[in-house]
């Protein structure tokens, strides 16, 4: 009798303890799932956000400055060779290009950490740009003086000063464009590298799939316990909790795969296309400037040159930006994850708490 009573007491003691432990385990697993899902979601967002907020703009600003300054050199030669310089100096297009390049460099400077190597390089570039502009101004002054002195047919010194300005810009070692290339080249590498961040690897989906599977297994075990001990064939709250785990996992997986796909598109398509377009346009205007400088037949024309095709580069930059924006778009996931996690934990509690209540008042403590 004593033995039977003791066994009965043990059983009464074991079931509520087991229920409490199970409830605690389920809630703890929900917390783990919450943390894991949040980590994956934030990791993806951080990657996309960092690329979109700094690395991509820094690279695009560098290549835009490179192209605009190359075109400024072309435009200045065009103006001098065509005779427009008599009235407009290096010309309106030159001014526009210098303004565009200056704005791009200002934005680039704002993205750099104070005291960084790039910040120091940008100061160098700023000084070089001032030198280049002063050389073009000197060329303009000399050109006007040539004409004022009646030696307009010669104009050797005005052109010589413009050649010095071009040399200061194009010198392979220490030239203005070479300095900006020191930003653009590594910028492209950094961008490509960030787009291939491990956060975009689908294998990392396992970080939240594993706790999700554990949670579902826990819910199944709880349902099994309720069926064995309390003859509850099906607990609606636990069933709903399991369904929400599946919904949460699927939502996160779809978002992660979508972001990964967008970043991959940026890395493999949009970035190479934008880089190639900027490169080809820069090369084209540089070649045209060289031809104008040398006075090659056909290069000296009074027609307005096409210069940079800003529509094409704008579209290429826009495609890259669209991919990055798509990767960064998490929909309602940042709110959905905690909401679902709280709902799952509450439903787990709702499924087990009534059974725990049955033991109250019968000395289960």
């Amino acid at each position: 009798m004593v033995r039977v009573t003791a066994r009965s007491h043990t059983r009464q003691h074991t079931t509520p303890v087991q229920l409490r432990r199970l409830l605690f385990a389920l809630v703890a697993t929900v917390v783990v799932l919450w943390l894991a899902a949040t980590a994956v979601q934030r990791g993806l967002q951080a990657t996309a956000g960092s690329v979109r907020g700094s690395t991509s703009p820094a690279y695009l600003d560098a290549v835009q400055a490179l192209a605009s300054l190359s075109d400024a050199d072309r435009a200045a030669w065009q103006s001098f060779r065509s005779g427009e310089a008599l009235f407009n100096g290096p010309g309106q297009q030159y001014q526009n290009d210098i303004t565009t390049a200056g704005q791009a460099l200002e934005r680039l400077a704002a993205l750099q950490a104070a005291g960084s190597a790039n910040s120091s390089l940008l100061q160098t570039i700023s000084g070089q740009l001032v030198t280049y502009q002063s050389q073009v101004e000197q060329a303009d002054v000399t050109y006007q003086k040539d004409i004022a002195l009646g030696s307009a047919s010669k104009r050797d010194l005005g052109f010589a000063h413009l050649a010095y300005a071009s040399s200061a810009m194009r010198a392979r070692q220490g030239g203005l464009l070479a300095s900006i290339s020191q930003l653009a080249g590594p910028g492209q590498q950094a961008l490509s590298s960030q787009l291939a961040s491990p956060w975009t690897n689908p294998v990392l989906l396992m970080v939240f799939i594993v706790p999700a599977l554990f949670l579902i297994a826990g819910i199944v075990f709880a349902q099994s316990l309720l069926r064995r001990r309390f003859n509850r064939v099906l607990s609606p709250p636990l069933l709903l909790a399991a369904a929400l785990v599946v919904v949460m996992s699927a939502w996160l997986a779809v978002t992660a795969v979508h972001a990964d796909s967008a970043l991959a598109a940026a890395r493999t398509t949009a970035l190479p296309r934008a880089a190639a377009l900027w490169q080809s346009q820069t090369s084209a205007v540089t070649a045209e400037a060289a031809a104008l400088q040398s006075g090659s037949a056909g290069a000296v024309s009074d027609r307005a040159s096409g210069g940079l095709n800003e529509t094409a580069t704008g579209q290429a930059d826009g495609a890259l930006e669209a991919d990055l924006a798509s990767a960064q778009d998490a929909g309602g996931l940042p709110l959905g994850i905690p909401a679902l996690a709280i709902a799952i934990a509450a439903l787990a509690g709702l499924g087990l708490w009534p059974r725990l209540s049955e033991y109250r008042g019968i000395g289960d403590r």
């Binding site: 432990r21 605690f24 385990a25 809630v27 703890a28 697993t29 917390v31 783990v32 943390l35 894991a36 980590a39 190597a117 120091s120 390089l121 100061q123 160098t124 700023s126 000084g127 070089q128 001032v130 030198t131 280049y132 002063s134 050389q135 000197q138 002195l149 030696s151 010669k154 050797d156 010194l157 010589a160 000063h161 050649a163 010095y164 300005a165 040399s167 200061a168 010198a171 070692q173 220490g174 030239g175 300095s179 706790p211 554990f214």
Partner: protein, 452 residues
Amino acid sequence: MTGNRRVPWPLGAVVLLLAAFVLPGCGGSAQAGTTVTVLGTWTGDEQSGFEAMVSGFEQKYGIHVDYTGTRDSNAVLTSDLEDGNPPDLAVLPTPGQLSQYAAAGTLVPLDGALASVNLASQYGPGWRRLMQEAGPGGARHYYAIIVKAALKSVIWYDPRNLPAPDLAQLTSPDLTWGRLMSLSASLAKGGRTPWCMGFEDSSSSGWPGTDWIEDILLHQSGPGSYDRWIAGTLPWTSAPVEQAWQAFGQIANRSTLVHGGTRAELLTNYGQAGQPMFDSRPGCYLDHEGSFITAFYAQDTLGSAGSDPGAGAHPRPGTDFRFVPFPAPTPAADGAEEVAGDLLGMFRDTPAARKLIAYLTTPQAQEAWIKRAGSGAISVNNQVPLRDYPDPVSEALADNLTHASDVEFDASDSMPQAMENAFYNAVLEYLDRPSQLNAILRGLDQVQKAAY
């Protein structure tokens, strides 16, 4: 009991997961090493030379040297100073700027950094004088060190191409300015263009012409006139200066004497001007350039215009190019040499910057650069053994530099910046419009009055 105390697995997972996120952020970051920032004009091979020079320093002290090289270091330095963010050390483009920065108190005196260095035993008095300037209080202090130097009073030639009688005349100890002009005329008469010239150097174009005028003035009128001219007390319209310009014009403004004519000399880069000297059919035979030009010659090619057996090879010092001193009016005239040097000053007084300054004055630091073949670098530290130079031409240049009885720093570099820039542009104006010399010199007089 034991089972009750065991940590539930979900809690363990939470802890592990948190640890995975938190620990990487808490990882011990590498201790930031001390860095010295240096701004200079050296790029390309010169930059490699400087980096070789400081690599021993970095290894010895574990201090990183962060070097930025640009041809426009002057503009960059000005911008950095305006922003209140200058580099620790900077190569000063000219002694004129050294003087201005020292007087303004922008530069830090190097007396402390050089306290442990016995400069008197390593540098001649003329060189030590060039390292000193008057500070804000008027007292003279060391404000710069000379990292490397160049001898400017030299004329280069290719001994293989110059006709034997002309070669004998050029290399004669009795060479004078008059005989050099006769030699030029003789070569031109024989259908040979005597002089290689190029005045293009991007934003500093025109300076090779100033070197010509300075050398002529120094050797024809002497160091006294030269120093007064630098100090702004000898007008540009004075006879010594005007005669120097005219003597320069006797060569530079005559298309028969200059390779490519006057238009070409305006557009030819100074570093490439000597290439025609090495062609199988030489485009020119004489080149007035500082000793640093050997670094450019080392990049030129031999016989590029013909079928020379050595075509394509780079000119070799001693064999393919040699130099003679710039001639005075008489063989017995003064032995002053025009020189230039890269002056390194300190804008931020840090222990690491002091260490680097002291290190760069040592023979072992200077040897690292001068030993590099084709570098054209010359040390003025007289404890650097001449045998360390990679070729006999560099050795002879170093011998001349360290043992010169009188060294005079490049005049344009020593003038105020406004005067220097005007000088550069005036040379270009003169090449374009030789008939305007008087107007040009009057204009320079106006600048002189305003700049000093």
